[in-house]
Amino acid sequence: MVRRLIIAAVIGLFTLFVAATVLMAYRWHAAHRPPEQPIAFSHRLHAGKLNLQCQFCHEYADKSPRAGVPAVSTCMSCHKAVATNSPEVQKLHEYWENEEPVPWNRVYSLRVRKYVVFAHKRHVKADLDCTDCHGEVRLMDRVRRVSSLNMGWCVTCHRSRSASTDCLTCHK
């Protein structure tokens, strides 16, 4: 009897943690996996091999709180003529003809934007590189998240660069 109980307890313990791992894997898959994008756009090609400047597409990064994703017309400045028979670029043409924005899926977003103040402008103007927060985007085919975006992350950097760590800097 005791022996059975012990065996059951051992199995229960391991099963519990296997289940926890399944949950972690599921959460990762649902929330942190690099999202599928409607068009297979590659930063490695455009920002890496073609060496386009980040701000050519994310034109608001140093001007406003949001970096913004490029309008279809930015893409079309080249893709009216370039690679027009690729099926991926044809999808782009469809959005262009229907005058719709491409529904890109967000990779980076603060969960509680409501009471956190974050502005690209201040950071980009302070000579931080995009890679400090977004990793080597130039080498990514599909953008993936490299930083946690949690408070500890913001504060660690603020401390190391002697920026303000006052609560009211980031919380209003």
């Binding site: 022996r3 012990i6 065996i7 051992v10 199995i11 313990l13 391991f14 099963t15 519990l16 943690f17 296997v18 926890a20 791992t21 399944v22 972690m24 894997a25 990762w28 898959h29 942190h32 490695r44 890496g48 400090d132 990793g135 080597e136 080498l139 990514m140 993936r144 998240r145 490299v146 930083s147 946690s148 992350w153 660690t156 950097c157 190391s160």
Partner: protein, 440 residues
Amino acid sequence: MEFFADFVIKPTEQQIALHRYLTILTLLIHLPYAGMLLGSSLFSIIFGILNWDKPNPLFSRFSKDLMDVVAASKTAGLVFGVLPLLVLVLLNVQRFSGSNVTTLGYLILAVVIIVVGIFALYAYRSVFHSISPGDPEFFRRTGIGTSGLVILLVGYYLLFSSVVLLNHPEKWAFIKTPADLILSWNVVWRFLLFIVSSVAISGAGTVFFFFNWPGRNIRGENEYGRLVKHFGASAALGSALLIPVFGFFFHVTSPIVAMSVNVYVVWMIALLVFMVGCILLLALLRSAQTKYGPPIFILFLFAFLMMISSDQAALENATREHTAALLDEAETIKREREEARQAAMAELEAATPGRGKEVFSARCVACHRFDEKLVGPPLLSVLPKYKGKMEELVSYVRNPSKKNPDYPPMPNLGLSAGEARAVASYLLEDVTEEKIPEEP
């Protein structure tokens, strides 16, 4: 780590692939050995102390036998202990030099410390043999053993913190002092996980090597046998039960960039295998037999290897961009080298006497004569315009474009750079000199 960058040859594509396999291979060789050494020395020291407290010949014998099992041969120490670590350092220097990770310095420091620890534990083992295990020597023996163990632990803590840092590209910019590196929950959990799994595999190994290893079977000795079996199995069981708990916290504190479904799945397999091992351990503890020794040890070893693979997969994920950068660099170098080689070949081929004529009669005569129109124009009529423009002719022949509306286009014949250069120099130098009169 600019310091290293000067010494290191940039890896090629094949080397990067090879590097991955070698890294995982060295870890698979080294870590189980390290775990056994760590766990068994711990057991041995504990029994040494128990024996000193309450002298018991079985305890002192067990204390000695444990070290004889795990530190039996110096060759094994070198092959499983020291050598893989040196290989690991070389591999990582090649892979991570030039990136702004300060971790390489820590890695090297860690390896030096670990090697010192391994030597100390071998010294601990030989003290058992050089002197009688009488109590006057207790302090010297235990002193060497304990300091070896502590040095080894410090070394692995440092090793893990440098590996964990590689897993956190997000932190690379912020590491300023060693304290930033060492004080991280992720390192703490990983280290605890390593210790409990080391104890687990040493416990399972104790049963296996004392009862099922040829030449060391103590099955006949009832009292000693019972002590070894019960201690080994209980230590293995107790610590294996902690593995899922520490592993859970380790994964919760791991960075998202290092994660992928594979990492979790391999970890789950490891857990399930540990579970089966634990159930067998329970059976072993209850029965008078020891036939479960080998399967338990093999299961634990397998699960241990799975844990290492899961970690290595996480490292691969975290450093994906770093690898991509290396691959790009390797590709550029390869392309440049290939171009240089082709150019050199072309020079060489063009310089071979008769080669140009050979190519001409093999590849061009089908469509060209010198002075009559065939598929293409008579060459003597078109060559004058290429006079002194060797490069232009070479590039035309390698990649023809539309020229004269009276003729169909000339196809791309797929000549190599060398063939094109040879035929062009034949046409421009030999033929033109002979057959085309100097322009008035």
